[in-house]
Symmetry: C2
């Protein structure tokens, strides 16, 4: 053990091998503070070569490795288990933006670069890096890739997977695969890139990536529409897609209860409507031409939706500042929820066309099983992704309600699977949803996944206990 | 052998197991007619279940399987070798469009559906299926997926990979993996889908897929710009992307020689300019709003490019019909080339920012090695994809020049790899480029690919000799 740590220190330097409880603590506790694991040490290499040498050492010694980026994951994918047998390998010191090519519209980054820094580097070159999510000030691009992170830009730009052109990966044997290609087309063999993306560090360690950039839109303008039901939100979205195509860059669904919670806990935020409506949709139109063009397109589309009887009321922002105000309502839902107490969260996706029926069928099932429970349902309608959270009935103790977690999951996830949906749309599996995965995936698919794991990580040292 | 074929007939029906030379001939010869392989039989199953049972039988008997769609591939990926040991398994009878969901914007298809039929089904539902390529009247969606086909829509919509949400695959053991999900977000384990896409049938047989649809643009309008050099084409493309964003749906580069060949062999086609210029770019703007909007956007962008001294001359179509006329110039380049004689073809990609320098450096190298040779260079500039074809000097016999194939490949592919490019942008590897792949891929990457192949096809019966 001491010999192992000495050899780690010889590779990464003594300052970057942490083995005291205080030094290791932030690397062992998960983002939501629900679980704290244990580790032999935390390794903080400063180069790709050091990563490779540390992995080779761990392979020799059969020491399990838990790769870690910003440690902002929500499914216990980036923290070790309680056994204390593993090392945490933090990529945070690999934080260099290696190159930015404005003509190829690519940026080549170390895995440990914080997402917001990628966004800022793109903006400085008059480009857009469209990945955007709540943890962007702390999460790293390597973690985004390993979990195939989603966020609010997926409708137009896709998940992290769709934003990546090339990867550099340290394999479980300690070899470096240099796949840092900045190519839009490359049909030369198996798609290793997409195999590592979303593998949550169980097949190798992503150390660098080539990410796509886009021309920055000239302006993005937002509207808030009041709707009678989720069914009407689907109709509104279809209308907007037909009229605006790729200029529709956001479509977020929020129930009345979501905006109630925001109004209660953040009274300073705007209240766009004097009345309350069953559902709301936040729409964003971006224009590569001008702000005027965006406003005009949004006004004509919401006007048409009004004429067609789809929307009950609508507020169209007339400036970028007003647009930010409307987005704040959406962004404060998770904060308002947290302020309101605990709840049982689900990150699910469905075929977009099934969303209204899914909500209409599943909410009564929940009410029947857990009378009075409150459904806090919001999400990225354009991606079919709902945050479908179940809060206790008013006045019911949080902890008392949380004992229903397993039973609530069963109602929600059984319904999701019956509708052809996914039990993890954007958060991944980690250790938290591993049993759920085993329950719902077919044996054929599980066996294919196990065969790949065994082929690429025969010693089973890469983030064991996650996903499979 | 007879017993094996009898068992095949018991599964697929006697009419659908071909073993006469005449019956098998069209399945054994490659699209360009350069190679004819040999097979025990051609199997034409009529259902996914029959595919699975035939594969299980082949696995039991260790009979290699060559999956085949429309057999329009260009790299000998869908025909058997000369040994006669394999069976061809044609998916052509699996030709049903299983479902189309206009709200989810997805179409679920059998692998054997012809690409044009998918396009037509989408159009009938007021949607766009954007994959478009020369062989679309014959190629099948299963083949498009297995080769990750590109085409002219990649700039805006991506390759076939980016258009696919879910797959159904028969594994080499004869199991059916049902991954026909119509989800935009799904982070539940390894990305099997993208592993099968582009694997050219070496890991399993794609039998069905869920493909993305898009709102159909209201109009697409085209312009032809005359340019001093490829460098200026890159500047024009950047300007257009900045001003038009996702509305820029096409950007094709063509050298003077390309349009010369078209004019010579297709004199009835329009000649847009009275003078000759070194390079041309075909631009397409699509609008979700109106034809007027598309024309206006294209005119203002080309005007700005003219003012900036980027373009020497430009013709903007003012109607959809005129736009078709300009596209015909581009589409007739391969036909004009074929009419002109044989040449040595390369399907390469590069970082977009390297294209001008690549051409400027590589053309003189070719001239030095093969004086007088003619470079027919055209392609999808927005994707960094060039068809970089080398024709004999005027008056030199075709066959005499073709003996230089290996030496010409070496000049071109060495340069491609030095610039960080790909030796197969959209055509794949098949049997034709297998040695080139082995030459240029790193040992680490080759070993990863081999490990995956061994894990998923341990008997090595799936399209052996292709890719690896």
């Amino acid at each position: 053990m001491t010999a192992f740590l000495d050899r780690c220190r010889a590779i990464a330097g003594a300052d970057f091998v942490l083995d005291t409880p205080a030094g290791m603590a932030p690397f062992l506790r998960d983002w939501r503070g629900r679980f704290t694991g244990s580790a032999r040490a935390v390794l903080r290499p400063g180069s790709v070569d050091e990563v490779a040498r540390l992995v080779r050492l761990c392979a020799d010694e059969r020491v399990p490795i838990v790769p870690q980026g910003g440690n902002t994951g929500l499914v216990l994918g980036s923290v070790p288990d309680a056994s204390g047998s593993a090392v945490v390998l933090s990529l945070a010191r690999l934080a260099t933006i290696r190159a930015l090519d404005p003509v190829n519209r690519t940026v080549t980054v170390d895995a440990g670069v914080i997402l917001q820094h990628v966004q800022e580097a793109a903006a400085a070159a008059d480009c857009l890096f469209p990945l955007s999510l709540a943890a962007e000030g702390s999460c790293t691009i390597g973690g985004n890739l390993s979990t195939n992170a989603g966020g609010t830009g997926v409708l137009r730009y896709g998940n992290t997977r769709e934003l990546c052109l090339g990867l550099e990966v340290v394999t479980p044997a300690g070899d470096i695969w240099s796949g840092l290609r900045g190519l839009r087309k490359d049909n030369t063999g198996y798609d290793l890139r997409d195999l590592y993306i979303g593998a949550e560090g169980t097949l190798g360690i992503i150390t660098g990536a080539v990410m796509k950039l886009y021309p920055a839109p000239k302006a993005s303008i937002t509207a808030l529409a009041a709707l009678p039901s989720p069914e009407y939100a689907l109709r509104l979205q279809s209308l907007l897609q037909d009229r605006a195509g790729a200029s529709l860059t956001g479509f977020e669904l929020m129930s009345a209860l979501c905006l109630d919670l925001v109004a209660r806990h953040f009274p300073a935020l705007p209240r766009p409507f004097p009345a309350t409506y069953p559902q709301y949709a936040l729409l964003e139109i971006s224009s590569s031409e001008s702000a005027d063009h965006a406003v005009q397109l949004l006004e004509s589309a919401t006007g048409a939706a009004f004429d067609a009887g789809i929307v009950l009321d609508a507020v169209v922002a007339t400036s970028v500042a007003q647009s930010r105000g409307l987005w704040q309502l959406r962004e404060h839902i998770p904060l308002a929820q947290a302020a309101d107490g605990k709840n049982i969260k689900h990150d699910i996706s469905l075929p977009v066309s099934s969303i209204a029926e899914f909500i209409a069928r599943t909410e009564p099932q929940l009410q029947q099983a857990f009378p009075g429970c409150r459904l806090v349902c919001f999400g990225h309608l354009g991606d079919g992704n709902l945050h479908f959270n179940v809060a206790p009935p008013p006045g019911v103790d949080n902890e008392a309600f949380l004992v229903n977690q397993e039973a609530v999951n069963r109602v929600v996830h059984d319904a999701v699977v019956a509708f052809g949906g996914s039990i993890s749309a954007e958060h991944g599996i980690g250790a938290l949803k591993r049993d759920e995965l085993a329950r719902y995936k077919s044996p054929v698919e599980l066996n294919l996944m196990r065969a790949i794991k065994a082929a690429l990580d025969p010693l089973n040292i890469m983030n064991p206990g996650k996903i499979l």
